[in-house]
Structure formats: C-alpha cells, structure tokens
C-alpha cells in the first residue's frame, strides 16, 4: 500500500469523564493512534475498554483531557476554547452504539435529512440523499414516512447508519453497527462499508465485538484494553498475536483459530500470511498439501472445516 496521508492522529491522549469532580472516571490512558485516508479500521476490545469514548473524541464530541487529537485539519487539545466543530462533523460521521438514542424526529425521512440540512444542503438535495442512503442500507422507501421508534431493532439500526451516510462524510465511524443485525444483514453492511472504502476512498472506523465478521475486510486493527490502545496493526500482525487476544477480552476469531490449527499441522504454511477468506484458506492448504506430495482431500473439505460466519 502506498503511503497515504494521515487523517486521524491521537497523541498521548487521556480522557476522564467528569474530570475534576468527585465522580471522575478515567476512560482512556495515553492512547496513540494513527489512521490513514481510505483505510478500513476495525476496533475491538472488551466492554468498558474505551471504544465508544475513542470514537467520540475523534469528532470532537469529547475534548481530550490530555494529549492531542488531530482530525483532518482540526487539532483538539485539553482546555481549548470550544471550537466550532460543524465543519469537522460534516466530514466525520458517527453512528452511535444505540440507535434508539440516535433517532429522534417524527419520521424516518426527517431524521435522514437532519444531518444534510444542518450541513447546509438545499432541501431537495437532502431529500435525494435521504432516499439514496436508505437504498444503500437496503431499506424499503415506504419506511420514510414511518415513525423511527416504530421500526424493528434491525431496521432502526440501518436507519441510524443511513442517517450518517446521508451527509456523505469522508470518515465514517460506526459503534457496534452489527450488534442487532442478523447475519445476512451483517455481511451486507460490511460489504457496503468495503465499497465505500475501496471505491469511494472513504476512511472507515468500525467498532465490533466480533472480530471474525470484519477480519477479511479490515486493513488495520486497533485493540483497546482497559482504556489503552494495546494493539494497532494489520490483520497478519493480529493473527501473529492471537494468543494475547483472550487476555485483552477479545474472543479469538474462528478463522484465526482454524488457521493456527492448520499451521501447527502443516508447518510449511506458517510462512504464509493468513488468508482472508475461506476460499483463499482452502486454496493455500490445498497447495501446501499437494506440494508436500500427498494427493490430499479436495478443497471442499477444508472449506467446510473452516466455514466461518
């Protein structure tokens, strides 16, 4: 990958909720992170590890209590006079962890238009964007006139994500977007994010509890543990440190477990990077087995063995 410009950089960031009061609760300690334009970043970590706090620092909803946060052309530092952040937030979208706290208007359409209108788009364009975002999330346009709180959990989640996409942000941040979706919708969402990233060059940050659902798509991973960013690196590096994941409160993804089993049995595999998909993994194993002289079982068998999500 060619060197791309850094769009998000956190330097020695600390964050404490209700700092200075008797209820102060430290959430982040000395976090150093760097994200380049056009990458798809997965953020994993146990509950309470600071993932949501991290996302809220990036679009200035929270100002750091230590260190500095640079996002696009803004630099946020502790105690600074609260800057006008709308120009930043137009370019950095955030879909919240709980969609029912995200939607508030009396129709879905108004909710989808809320962001675009705030960012100064004309009405008509906002309306088009709303419909377009809804289609991108594969929701029926009939929902536009419904009250958001009458939608099902999955529809509400999709509508909330659509309300972020409608404003067309360069950086899209999603806090556990797959939590209330079924597995088909989850896969669909992730391929949508991949499209936004690969074809439109947007930067995507996605928090998830299920590393496996994003392992094939993410360029980079950040692992949070007890308020610290304990890991930032590519999927291969993550695979190499699979043993530490448990201690960080992250379940070892199925593909990694499977690949580890295979590499321990077929040492010739261990020099290869971890295949991203089931098909690639089956192919790599097939080649290794054939190359070792054995005729081996067909690729179908391995594929079944490693079937994921």
């Amino acid at each position: 990958m060619s060197e791309r410009e850094t769009v998000i950089e956190l330097k020695n960031v600390d964050y404490t909720y209700q700092a200075g009061s008797p209820f102060a609760a430290a959430a982040l300690h000395d976090v150093n992170i760097r994200v380049r334009r056009g990458t798809l970043v997965g953020i994993a970590g146990g509950t309470g590890s600071g993932k949501s706090t991290l996302l809220q620092l990036v679009n200035g909803l929270l100002l750091p209590t230590g260190g500095s946060v640079s996002v696009l052309d803004h630099v946020l530092t502790p105690g600074m006079k609260k800057p006008r952040l709308n120009s930043l937030r137009r370019r950095v979208g955030l879909s919240f962890q709980f969609p029912e706290q995200h939607l508030f208007e009396d129709t879905v359409e108004k909710d989808l238009m809320f962001g675009p209108l705030n960012f100064g788009m004309p009405r008509e364009e906002a309306q088009n964007r709303a419909a377009e975002a809804l289609r991108a999330m594969r929701l029926d346009e009939a929902l536009l006139k419904r009250h958001p709180l009458t939608l099902s959990g999955g529809q509400m989640r999709k509508a909330a994500i659509a309300s972020v996409l409608a404003a067309g942000p360069e950086i899209v941040m999603l806090d556990e977007p797959t939590a209330t979706l079924d597995s088909a919708a989850r896969r669909e969402l992730i391929s949508l994010l991949e499209r936004l990233c690969r074809e439109e060059g947007r930067t995507i940050l996605m928090v998830t509890h299920r590393v496996e659902e994003l392992l094939h798509a993410a360029d980079e991973w950040i692992v949070m543990h007890e308020g610290r960013a304990v890991f930032q690196g590519g999927p291969d590096e993550l695979a190499g440190r699979a043993g530490e994941l448990g201690g960080w409160g992250v379940a070892v993804p199925e593909q990694l477990r499977c690949w580890r089993e295979w590499t321990s049995r077929l040492p010739q595999l261990s020099s290869l990077p971890m295949p991203r998909t089931a098909e690639e993994m089956a192919g790599a194993i097939e080649r290794a087995v054939r190359g070792a002289g054995g005729s081996g079982g067909g690729p179908e068998r391995e594929e079944n063995l490693c079937a994921t999500n």
């Binding site: 952040l85 709308n86 937030r89």
Partner: protein, 273 residues
C-alpha cells in the same frame, strides 16, 4: 449537563456519617431545616453555620465539593437575593433608615441584611441536603423514609412500601433520563446540530425534539423494569427480607439529639435576643 450535576449521588469516603442510620440523618435534616426557618437573625445563623461546618467536616468530603453543589442553583440564589432586596426595600423605605438611593430604587441597610440572610439560609439548606445525598445511597434513603412512615400508616396497609418503591424507581430513573437526553443531544451534535453553537430558538426546537424519544424511552424502561421485578418475584405486600436491615445504634441517637439541641438552642436564642 450531567458533568455539572453532582447533587444526588453518594460519595463514598467511609466516614462515621456515612454509616449512620438513614432515619437519623433524615430526622436531623428535618430538625436542621426547622432551625433554619425559625432562626431570626445573624447570631442564630452563625451558630447554625458553625454547626454545619463541623458536620460537613465529619463526612470527610472536601468542603469544595459542597460549594460545587451550590453552583447549579446560583441563579436561583441571585434571584432570591434581588427579590428580597427590592421587596425588603419597599418596606424599609417607609420605616426610614434609607441608606442610599439609586434612581427610583432605595436600598436600606435592613433590606440588604434581610436579603443576605435569606440567601445564606437557602445556601445552608442546599448544602445540608447535599450532605444527606452525598452520604446516603438512594436505596438507603428511600428505605429510611419507608421506615419512618411505616409506623404512621394503618396496620396491614402497603402504602409505605408502595411509596418507597416509587421513590426508589424515581431516584433510579432521573439520572437515567438525564443521561439519555445527553446521549441524544450528542447524537444530534454529531450530525451538525451542536447545542452549544446554536441560537436560542433552535435550542428550544432541539430540546422539544427530545421529548418524544426520552418519554418513549422512559416508558420502555419502566415496563422492562416492572417486568423484571415481577420475574424476580417482587410483589407489593409480600413478605420479603431486606438485604440490609436498618439498625438504630447509639451513634444515631447521639446524632439526632445533637440536632434536637440545635433546634432548641436556636429557639431559645430567638426568644431571648
């Protein structure tokens, strides 16, 4: 919003005051409020102030924290001050002793003293309420109230228990609702409607828009909570073991007596001076 609201949450320091029976603390609070209301002038107020500083120190919570509890109410206190000042000025002007005149308004030394007295009383009352909530968890507080009204209600009536459950739920819901409103405001800010960057008219519209989701959220939570209470076998009037029994000890009697004396002292001063 939430960051500034510190009234109404317990601060554990493990002091003797924390361990007192909630009934003793509530009684003391009532006695203190009575003494405040009955106090007539600066002398009584000085005694009450010294007394409360001693009690506040005993809670091991920094005095600074108590002052912070006053902050959200500073405008209300200013209003009370000005109101008393001008209301008092009208009465004072007739009874001569005009101190200085400012346009149509005449201020008197008596009016000023009366207004300061009113604000000081109010501040002491707030600080004392803060003391109660800083040293007692909401559930202990409501259990204390339940324990105090139970002897007053008819035998076999579930009124006290109902009241206590209601209090406990309310105390649990208020912070939850505040938090929920704050999250929605944040979500709106993320989509370009930053409350702090808005004009007053837009602010009003935004706050109105919170009403529906927050109310719906509250009902949903209430429903979930009652279902889960029932699922866990809670029934009003059913015999139940409290997992933390209230127990009245010597310290509680001592603490309450202290406040009885305080009230008696204030009354005597008022009558003598």
């Amino acid at each position: 919003m939430r960051d500034k609201l510190i009234l109404g949450r317990m601060i554990p320091t493990g002091s003797r005051v924390h361990e007192l029976d909630p009934r003793a603390k509530i009684t003391a609070m009532l006695l203190f409020a009575a003494a405040l209301i009955l106090s007539g002038g600066w002398a009584e107020l000085a005694v009450l102030a010294v007394f409360s500083v001693i009690v506040l120190t005993a809670t091991k919570i920094p005095l600074r924290t108590y002052l912070r509890a006053l902050r959200p109410l500073r405008w209300l206190m200013l209003f009370v001050f000005l109101f008393q000042l001008f209301a008092g000025a009208g009465a004072g002007a007739a009874a001569d002793s005009a101190a200085w005149t400012l346009g149509p308004v005449t201020l008197t030394a008596a009016g000023l003293s009366g207004a300061l007295l009113a604000v000081s009383r109010m501040a002491l009352l707030i600080v004392f309420t803060a003391m109660l909530t800083f040293t007692t968890t909401p559930s202990m507080l409501s259990r204390g109230i339940e324990g105090m009204i139970k002897p007053l209600s008819r035998k076999g009536s579930t009124g006290a228990e109902r009241f206590s459950l209601m209090m406990r739920l309310a105390l649990r819901f208020i912070p939850a609702l505040l938090e929920e409103s704050q999250t929605i405001l944040k979500a709106q800010a993320a989509r370009g409607a930053d409350y702090e960057e808005m004009k007053i008219k837009e602010k009003a519209r935004l706050l109105m828009s919170l009403l529906v989701p927050v109310t719906v959220g509250a009902f949903r939570r209430a429903e979930e909570l009652t279902t889960s209470l029932e699922a866990r076998g809670y029934r009003i009037g059913a015999p139940r073991t409290s997992y933390r029994r209230l127990s009245w000890s010597g310290a509680d009697t001592f603490f309450t007596l202290l406040f009885v004396l305080l009230l008696a002292g204030t009354l005597t001063m008022r009558l003598m001076l």
